[in-house]
Amino acid sequence: MNEFLAMGGYALYVWPAYSVALVVLAGVWATGERRRKRVEQQLAALENNGGADRP
């Protein structure tokens, strides 16, 4: 396990590389989800009020 984490002495480079990739990809996914959910909520609110944003 320690050998795995040490990555042959290159841990300082390998793990940050994978972390950056993971964080950015997860960020893309998360921001997409958040934006879509917001629109879905706003659309639902609009359609429930018979076309008005506020009652």
Partner: protein, 251 residues
Amino acid sequence: MHRFANPGRFQRLAARLLPWLKGLTALAFLIGLYLALWDSPPDYQQGATVRIMYVHVPSAWMALFAYLLLGLASASALIWRHPLADVAAEALSPVGAALTSVALATGALWGKPMWGTFWVWDARLTSFLLLFFLYLGHMALLGAFDDRQRGQRSAAVLALVGLVNLPVIKFSVDWWNTLHQPASITRLDGPSIDPSMLWPLFVMAAAFHLFLAVAVLERMRTLLLEARLRAQRQAGFDRLQMADQGAGRGR
């Protein structure tokens, strides 16, 4: 192409496809990461840093592929006015920018131990940085105008002009004296990489392809919903305005 031009049809198709694509993406990453980090050998020269290749190369490939798609979408919008083309373009650039940034960062982290430097202004790295700026420029142009269509049109023109950067990136390692190594996979003689490393690379490449598809399709869905929201709000305003005028309050 024209069968999917109908936004409603696209939404229904996307809603059916996306759960499967998301599942496949997760699976591909699990297998790919297992192969990349555990089951594949270290390189006899590069040691464990070769494992960075399994995120650096797929992200770079996808950054380029996404730009190609952006160019196609832009051409489709400008020339044929395909209704989903602008939506696709707007969905593609942020995802493309993210993939480019991953390629740049992982490349720098690979370069430091192997080349002794995080960065060098050689042809490959510089043209790839330009790709990143093209994505950012595209995103900026889309939001730069009050009139959405003007933004979409200028962004599409930028995307098309930037297409010339793609062959430059691809052939930069042949045309110029670069620190970045020449092609070891997409060559006429076939890949020069050992199968024990080629398979993890291909699985990770598949995972990144799937990620691109999921991220872009989701964003397209959202953009279409936002368009519907705008249309409904506009219809609501119009109704209010007509009601006001009918009651004699407007002139």
